[in-house]
């Protein structure tokens, strides 16, 4: 790392930074896709008695949100986002078992998968990671997912949300096959359906009967929270 304006190489020792500067440095490291540094920063914050959830929200999700914003604004591109996601994953792997032990109730559950005929999962994986970061339980069905697998996953996991992903114009119509099957099975009303993928748009989402089209992972998280709010309110009122 070089000191600004001097070109002089300065070694930053993460463990010597106060909390606020460490978090800020982790955001920079996330932006630069430095997985080892993110893992180290995560461990340091945990050693300083930060709760896993606080590390997740402030250091990891905060950093990834900045990446997402610059991706949306055309400042960063897919390779940089992938490197940042790798870095976030390194932190998440440390936090996941700790979070699981805390027994905190997830804010919701999402089943997610790339539709049949499509093997692209970069977007889906980003959404899954950001949803997990936002406190959702994520069940990932993987790629090339046939309608039967979606239906049995809905029955088995009873998620709040079903997320459908596709990259190809030739496979995106399969999302309608899944939604139509949900209607036919009488389960469409039980789940929020969110769709996403490079060739999709809002109009397509509406046409196939989805509840929301999400243009990127950060939007997916915002949308999931927004769409689940009435449900949560309903549950609270009835309990």
């Amino acid at each position: 790392m070089s000191k600004e304006g001097t070109g002089e190489e300065v070694e930053i020792v993460l463990a010597e930074l106060p909390d606020d500067e460490l978090v800020e440095q982790m955001h920079d490291d996330m932006y630069d896709g430095l997985a080892d540094e993110i893992a180290e920063g995560t461990r340091i914050l945990l050693e300083r008695s930060w709760g896993a959830d606080r590390v997740l929200q402030e250091a990891l999700v905060g950093g990834m949100n900045a990446v997402g914003k610059d991706f949306r604004d055309g400042i960063l591109f897919v390779p940089e986002v992938l490197l940042a996601a790798n870095a976030m994953k390194a932190g998440m792997e440390i936090l996941r078992p700790i979070l699981a032990d805390t027994g905190v109730k997830p804010v919701g559950k999402i089943v997610i998968g790339t539709v049949k005929g499509d093997i692209h999962d970069i977007g889906k994986n980003l959404v899954g990671m950001m949803m997990e970061g936002a406190g959702f339980e994520v069940v990932d069905l993987g790629i090339n997912t046939p309608v039967e697998d979606y239906l049995s996953a809905l029955e088995e996991h009873r998620p709040d949300i079903l997320g459908l992903s596709a990259l190809l114009t030739t496979t995106m119509p399969y999302m309608k096959v899944v939604i139509d099957a949900m209607v036919q099975e009488g389960v469409r009303g039980n789940h929020v359906v969110m769709v996403g993928g490079a060739p999709l748009n809002e109009e397509f989402g509406r046409e196939i009967g989805a509840d929301a089209y999400c243009r990127d992972a950060a939007t997916a998280v915002e949308m999931a929270k927004k769409l689940l709010a009435p449900r949560s309110a309903g549950i609270a009122a009835s309990s």
């Binding site: 591109f77 390779p79 499509d118 999962d121 970069i122 114009t169 030739t170 995106m172």
Partner: protein, 209 residues
């Protein structure tokens, strides 16, 4: 009295230019004028409709007919909206692999293995620029599994019977860590797709089927 052959403008993706030029030469399509857009638009399909619109606009009233040598190419109908404004037509299908293989054969290939990365002759020749550099794998080789981890094979839809090109395509597959298959498709399916859009009317002798 002399009759004039109607002038046809073919606005084409640069990735198809070599094959179109070969067919034009073989078929004697002197009335067809070729104007190409950069092949790299393939990576940003959202930019294709407006790039085509600019070409259509500058060609306005100068040709009897305009055909656009693009398929839908990931524009999700937006290219068709532009073409409708200008009364232009495009080639059938969702992408150029389908043009070269033929719709049925391509569907069978995809059905057999959705994790197939397709190479045309053009892509095999420009693999470094369009794939390796296009995906920034030259700068971040560690991203290879992210992009290609779910792929199983490379299929080279060979338009030309060229051992050198086949070797190059095989090398592309090796660099991606994928199995390799060569499927000679010739120019027949592509020529038929052009003919369906009203470009070219006779098969020239020696055109590979």
């Amino acid at each position: 009295m002399t009759s004039r052959t109607p002038k046809l403008l073919l606005i084409a993706c640069g990735a198809l230019a070599g094959e179109i030029a070969a067919l034009r030469r073989l078929g004697g399509w002197e009335h067809v004028e070729l104007d190409c857009l950069p092949a790299k638009l393939h990576a940003t399909p959202e930019a294709i409709p407006e790039a085509v619109r600019a070409k259509l606009e500058s060609a306005r009233d100068r040709y009897d007919r305009v055909c656009v040598a693009y398929t839908d190419c990931g524009t999700v109908g937006r290219l068709d909206e532009v073409l409708a404004e200008y009364g232009a037509v495009r080639l059938p299908g969702a992408h150029c692999y389908e043009l070269f293989a033929g719709a049925e054969r391509f569907a069978a290939l995809h059905e057999a293995e959705p994790g197939t990365f397709y190479l045309t002759d053009f892509l095999a020749r420009h693999f470094d620029r369009l794939v390796i550099q296009g995906l920034s794998l030259d700068r971040y080789p560690e991203l290879l599994p992210h992009y290609f981890g779910n792929y199983r094979r490379v299929v080279h839809l060979a338009q030309r019977d060229s051992p050198a090109l086949r070797a190059r395509a095989r090398e592309c597959a090796r660099r991606l860590g994928l199995a390799f298959e060569s499927r000679p498709v010739g120019l027949g399916p592509f020529e038929r797709a052009l003919a369906a859009a009203g470009v070219g009317c006779r098969r020239a002798e020696g055109t590979p089927a």
